[in-house]
């Protein structure tokens, strides 16, 4: 039989990795082409109307997507602002402060959070959170409800990501720092976190991407009204919810317009990742 030498082991691994990499790149490319092609009829027909129409009433030929772009950005940024400290502090707590008997169950709970299907969060939000918010200010289904639910969904992503980054970094510096007489908190704030700036931003970007793409949970708690929100108690509709709500029954230009909302979401996430990448390059260049 064929002998696996070290050299052709490398070759096999390299080819497998290349094929996998190519495959995912081609898949994304094909999806982009497909979504663009499906939205072309609407772009031809409506053009700038997507941004200047009065509102979104497809049956009456009105297709303004701006409130939904705003909705998507507000709800995911809001969730990120809440989830970032929560995720960061949880990671620090589990990695440095919780004792073994406490760290283990805490870690498992966070992992469980990260793995819960979004429809469970949405269902809980609809049954428990929304009625509570409704007592404060009707209708309860609102930007705030979406932010709270999404924050719960994405903070474990940040926590788990950072915990994985704390370990190797700590191995290098932790004992040295302690032997220099540093306190644990000084080490964390002055050495660990600054050295992991890029990783922290990376974890936040990952979480933000997850929040922007989330559909089911926000659809259940955000109210889905296409209107610029004026307060966090106002209902909003996200781009993803728009597609999920209307796609099943949409025809012709309406269907194409929904693909256009998908295209915008695609571009939003693309821009987000590019900006983050640019920032990271800039940072590592500074170093």
């Amino acid at each position: 039989m064929y002998q696996l030498t070290k050299k052709n082991k490398d070759f096999i691994l390299e080819s497998v990795l290349t094929i996998n990499g190519l495959f995912s790149a081609i898949a994304v490319g094909l999806i982009f082409i497909f979504v663009t092609r499906e939205s072309l009829p609407a772009i031809h027909l409506k053009g700038w109307a997507f941004f200047i129409d009065k509102s979104w009433y497809p049956l009456e030929g009105q297709f303004n997507v701006l409130p939904m772009i705003a909705g998507t950005i507000f709800v995911s940024l809001g969730a990120l602002i809440l989830a970032s400290p929560l995720g960061l502090f949880s990671a620090i707590f589990i990695s440095f402060y919780a004792h073994g008997s406490l760290a283990w169950p805490f870690r498992r709970v966070v992992e469980l959070y990260a793995g819960l299907p979004s429809v469970i969060f949405g269902f809980w939000g609809l049954m428990k959170l929304v009625p509570m918010l409704n007592e404060i200010r009707p209708p309860g289904q609102s930007l705030l409800a979406g932010i709270l639910i999404l924050a719960l969904m994405i903070f474990p992503i940040i926590t788990l990501n950072l915990m994985a980054n704390f370990r190797p970094s700590s191995k290098k510096y932790y004992r040295v720092a302690l032997s220099l007489g540093m306190r644990k908190s000084t080490y964390i704030w002055s050495i660990l976190l600054p050295s992991l700036k890029q990783q922290i931003v990376g974890a936040m970007i990952l979480a933000l991407g997850r929040a922007m793409g989330e559909t089911m949970a926000v659809l259940m708690v955000c109210g889905n009204i296409v209107k610029m929100p004026t307060s966090i108690f106002d209902p909003i509709r996200t781009l993803t919810a728009n597609i999920a709500l209307e796609m099943a029954y949409a025809m012709n230009e309406h269907r194409s317009a929904l693909f256009f909302t998908g295209l915008i979401l695609f571009l939003l996430i693309f821009v987000l990742i590019s900006v983050a990448d640019f920032w990271r390059r800039h940072e590592s260049w500074k170093e």
Partner: protein
């Protein structure tokens, strides 16, 4: 070996092409309300009648009428009663679509008139107090565009969707049930079949009486509940052959469970 391969190839070609040639295609066009139901029914029918292929396309009730008149489609789907100038066509009512206005079970209001509902949805009545209920803001639940229940609702009340001042927009019936049953101040509408079922299994919902009639599948069947529309299949000529076969199948008890799955009330 080569001979055998050629034999297999030719054999496969011949056997595969026979049923393809023998298949008769029935084109059905029209209402997007009916299309999903007919798609399911068509699959069932095709499984039982191998020689028939059914092609269901949407485009609205008027397209169904136009296509049948021009012989572009053998059967049309029309989700309303036929108009006076359409009486030359043969219509077969196979189901009725009805919607129930629902509120939370604890709401003390139990009946609304057509005008009151229009006022609530247009935003000129915003508090339950005005209607004899508690002093609470009304949370108006509307359906997403493209849903047939929305079409029926705005059609019946003579509203345009842009006139409706909704607080929450929902997708399917189930989401409507969950939204209204968890919000004490809300009002919404869903298919009667779904609402009745959920209320019967203890979901805190109340189906409002409408113009003196209670929202019940029974009242749809006997025609006294007004918030309904008929779902029709139409043909240009008296149906015969496989077209007659399919229509008979849709009107038979065999199809009722599919029709109920789509929350319509079967005519038979």
């Amino acid at each position: 070996m080569i001979k055998f391969t050629i034999f297999i190839f030719v054999f496969a070609l011949v056997t595969l092409s026979f049923p393809l040639n023998a298949k008769e295609t029935i084109v059905i066009t029209g209402s997007s309300t009916i299309a999903p139901t007919l798609l399911d029914l068509a699959k069932l029918y095709e499984a039982k009648n191998k020689g028939v292929r059914i092609d269901v396309q949407t485009g609205g009730s008027s397209r169904g009428v136009a296509d049948v008149r021009k012989d572009l489609a053998k059967i049309g789907m029309v989700s309303r009663a036929l108009k006076a100038d359409e009486k030359d066509l043969h219509a077969f009512t196979f189901a009725t679509d009805g919607i129930a206005i629902i509120v939370h079970k604890t709401n003390s209001v139990s009946e609304l008139t057509k005008e009151q509902i229009v006022d609530i949805y247009k935003g000129s009545i915003t508090n339950w107090k005005v209607l004899g209920g508690a002093d609470q803001k009304i949370v108006v639940v509307n359906k997403a565009e493209g849903r047939s229940t929305l079409e029926l609702f705005i059609g019946f009340f003579g509203l345009k969707n842009s006139q409706i001042k909704a607080d929450i927009v929902i997708g399917d019936n189930e989401q409507g049930i969950k939204t209204v049953s968890t919000n004490k101040n809300s009002i919404g509408y869903v298919s009667i079949g779904t609402a009745e079922y959920n209320a019967s299994v203890g979901v805190p919902l109340k189906l409002l009486n409408f113009q003196g009639k209670s929202a019940k599948v029974e009242n749809i069947k006997n025609g006294t509940y007004p918030l309904t529309r008929e779902l029709n299949l139409i043909t240009k000529l008296k149906p015969s052959g496989s077209i007659e076969g399919f229509i008979k199948f849709v009107l038979s008890p065999e199809s009722t469970h599919v029709i109920k799955d789509h929350f319509f009330v079967p005519a038979y």
